[in-house]
């Protein structure tokens, strides 16, 4: 049985392409995805380590589970859609709060996905598939709409996150290193994103091992409380 050593969580508004990013990386393909239900769990072998990756559903009703998905995470990938500014705003408004349960030295990566829709890349099939939600009717028609969100906006968000987490910019990787623009469809930057993160996660795993398991309770010496009531939780 493989036990995960580190944990990476993908967060972001719905339809920004979290599942597509992960599938592009894990399975080297860009399938027609359907909305993820709840969270999906994958294991990736990276050198001698097992890294677990949680792909979450960017839907509000699953926020109850967000803290579980993020607990003890070593890295969190915040994903937005470069053609849809609101998805970047949502990251700060709704998803940042979920990361409170991540480990204290958690890494953050900010990923603008779907660059193929705004740059020179091919567009037609994508729009037919209906993968680009809530685009204005105008940009729907034009194959090369200008990018709605610039990389600088992501860098600004990254700096805000550091402030929120009360981290010093000197202690964490530089913003330029942690902000990516990707296309799950063409595979642009996808490997770079995951492999950069894995390489950063590995020393963290080693550090955590040296410190012993923090924040967790050794349950082998813990007696569970007797269950008093049955039935499912409300």
């Amino acid at each position: 049985m493989r036990k995960p050593d580190g944990k990476i969580v993908l967060l972001g508004d719905m339809n920004v392409g979290k599942t597509s990013l992960l599938q592009r990386y894990m399975e080297r393909r860009f399938p027609d995805t359907v909305s993820t239900v709840g969270g999906a769990f994958y294991l990736k072998q990276w050198r001698s380590f097992n890294i677990s990756i949680w792909d979450t559903a960017g839907r509000e009703q699953f926020h109850g589970l967000g803290s579980m998905y993020c607990r003890g995470a070593t890295a969190i990938i915040l994903t937005y859609d470069v053609n849809h500014p609101q998805s970047l705003v949502e990251l700060e408004d709704r998803f940042l709060g979920l990361t409170d349960t991540a480990s204290t030295d958690c890494l953050f990566a900010i990923v603008g996905n779907k660059v193929d829709l705004s740059e020179e890349g091919a567009v037609e099939s994508r729009e037919k598939d209906g993968c680009s939600p809530r685009l204005a009717a105008g940009s729907y028609m034009s194959p090369k709409g200008p990018k709605q969100v610039q990389l600088e906006d992501a860098v600004a968000l990254y700096k805000k996150i550091l402030k929120y987490k009360m981290l010093d910019e000197k202690d964490v990787p530089a913003a330029e290193q942690m902000c990516f623009e990707t296309s799950a469809k063409t595979g642009h930057n996808v490997d770079l994103l995951f492999e950069t993160l894995f390489d950063m996660v590995v020393p963290m795993i080693l550090r955590q091992r040296a410190q012993g398991p923090p924040q967790t309770v050794d349950i082998s010496s813990y007696k569970p409380p007797r269950r008093t009531k049955s039935g499912c939780c409300a």
């Binding site: 559903a57 269950r227 039935g231 939780c233």
Partner: protein, 551 residues
């Protein structure tokens, strides 16, 4: 109130030959009901409706005249909504249909299902994009509130060949508009299943809470993605009749020793908080085990089980291990279970573990590995592989046997629901049916067969005059439906079969089912699993959860 009269078209000279042969007592003289059967939906029927709609003058009609003159109901598809841009809404998952009510393609659909909020906000539409339908949905709200203002509730409208069925569930309004021969009761059952599916994602309590707080809330945001599950549910009614019609689940045919072994394996593999484990393939049940502590008084309702089987068939569960909240509407419409869903060994065999604990993912993952190991020891994967054709796409319903296995020539298809399974049928209604083969391999043909089954079912279960036996000679097939205290049976036979021949075939079929029943059905209720005394299995994994899960 039933608005409008039953104007269901009298079959205009259709070669409908419907008679009861051996029906006892009062049903004997049922010939009066025969001519009520509408004709088979044929192509000319489609065109007829199309031209009728074209003739409608534009502009919104007040709901009142529609109520009084039900034949005008087609005006519901008002061209006034055409100015809405038919933007393809990817979140609605409704495919490429424009959904514009003036769109010919959209109007020619046989059955529409809509879900809207009390305020008239669109939530779901089977076809087309809901944005384009806001006018249509407005009309529906108007109809409902018009009747409501008289202190009554609208249930159904019969309008020539259309049936409109309304179902109010809390703040949600569900509407079916159908040209299929399904009865109002059957359509209502379908709407209830759609509602149950929505509740399973959100819980009844949270739907009520959301709308109490904000009446004009756009529920689509919360349901994004679930539309496809609803689409699949509604498609299954037409393409693979049985589950919803008979209110029963379909079991994978499996030798009894193996099924029993799998059942006890599931009972052995427990974890704290685990309430229910289900092993399924392609929407069919292999076996299930319940935990005594959680589900002791209240056994799992078959409708809930069917809902889960439909739900885990979602393509979203095809890869990785998923962890998601799910509500079982019959068990408790206001609470969530947490579901662990994984495909075993990358086959379509799917394990579903329901836990009461939102943090128990790793416990359930451990549990899955135990099940997987156990199945390898049993060699169950190979046996299941033989029982189910894995070559098919996982989304396709992988049926296990051909009708040839019965060895009755002239028999094309059947649905058989036993009613005499000892102490069990009340807990777990089941049915069996063979693969739909030629001539029912095309979509339209399947639809036609489904229509025929629905029509026979409606006759057998008619509230005013239930029948026990129907022998129906159609142009393309002969059907025989029969309900006794021991079973409910629908058979589809070749059109050339004689009445005596049909009885022979059915006798043969019944004998075959009797012989095979241990394989076709779960004959003996699986026992409860007992919770583990010490949570031995989950030691190392549970440390990831921080604290040990409480109830």
């Amino acid at each position: 109130m039933e608005a409008g009269g039953d104007t269901a078209a009298p079959a205009p000279g259709d070669a409908e030959d419907l008679e009861d042969t051996r029906s006892p007592s009062e049903e004997a003289g049922d010939s009066g009901g025969v001519h009520e059967e509408p004709p088979d939906p044929r192509e000319e029927g489609l065109e007829e409706t199309g031209s009728e709609i074209k003739d409608q003058p534009p502009g919104l009609q007040s709901p009142l005249p529609q109520l009084e003159a039900p034949s005008c109901t087609c005006r519901l598809w008002d061209p006034a909504a055409s100015e809405n841009s038919p933007l393809d809404d990817p979140e609605s998952g409704s495919g490429g249909q424009g959904g514009d009510p003036s769109d010919e393609d959209w109007r020619s659909k046989r059955k529409h299902v809509f879900v809207l909020s009390e305020a008239g906000k669109p939530i779901y539409s089977r076809y087309g994009s809901v944005e384009a339908l806001s006018t249509t949905m407005g009309v529906m709200t108007a109809l409902v509130s018009f009747v409501q203002s008289a202190g009554d509730a609208i249930r159904a409208i019969y309008a020539e060949d259309h049936k409109l069925v309304f179902l109010q569930q809390g703040p949600l309004l569900l509407v079916a508009v159908s040209r299929t021969p399904q009865s109002v009761a059957q359509l209502r059952g379908e709407l209830l299943a759609v509602h149950a599916q929505i509740v399973s994602t959100l819980t009844r309590a949270s739907v009520a809470r959301i709308f109490a707080r904000k009446q004009n809330y756009d529920l689509r945001r919360l349901l994004a993605g679930s539309e496809r599950t609803l689409d699949r549910l509604l498609d299954s009614v037409e393409q693979d009749p049985g589950a919803l019609l008979l209110g029963a689940v379909r079991c994978v045919p499996l030798a009894r020793p193996l099924r029993d072994a799998l059942g006890s394996l599931l009972r052995r593999c427990t974890a704290p908080g685990l309430a229910l484990s289900v092993l399924a393939v392609g929407g069919q049940l292999v076996t299930a085990a319940q935990e005594r502590n959680v589900l002791a008084e209240c056994r799992l309702d078959p409708a809930d089980l069917q809902l889960l089987l439909n739900w885990v068939g979602a393509p979203a569960f095809a890869a990785g291990e998923a962890w998601a909240p799910v509500c079982l509407p019959r068990f408790n419409p206001d609470g969530f279970f947490y579901a662990y869903v994984a495909r075993l060994d990358a086959t379509p065999v799917c394990l579903l573990l329901l836990s009461t604990d939102p943090e128990a993912f790793h416990d359930m993952a451990t549990c899955r590995r135990l099940v997987e190991d156990g199945m390898h020891t049993l060699g169950a994967m190979r046996a299941l592989g033989e029982a189910v054709s894995f070559s098919k796409a996982p989304s396709a319903i992988a049926l296990a046997y051909s009708v040839q296995a019965v060895g009755a020539s002239g028999l094309r298809h059947f649905l058989y629901k036993p009613l005499d399974i000892p102490d069990h049928h009340r807990q777990l209604p089941q049915f069996t049916s063979p693969e739909l083969e030629a001539p029912y391999s095309r979509e339209e043909e399947r639809q036609r067969l489904s229509d025929l089954y629905h029509r026979l079912h409606a006759r057998l279960h008619s509230t005013s005059r239930p029948l026990r036996l129907i022998y129906h000679v159609g142009e393309k097939e002969t059907l025989l439906a029969w309900v006794t205290s021991k079973f409910e049976l629908y058979t589809c036979l070749s059109p050339l079969v004689t009445k005596a021949g049909a009885i022979l075939v059915v006798t043969k079929l019944l004998r075959w089912v009797k012989k095979e029943e241990d394989r076709l059905f779960i004959r003996y209720p699986p026992k409860y699993s007992t919770p583990p005394a010490v949570p031995a299995a989950s030691m190392d994994q549970a440390s990831h959860n921080g604290l040990f899960p409480g109830p």
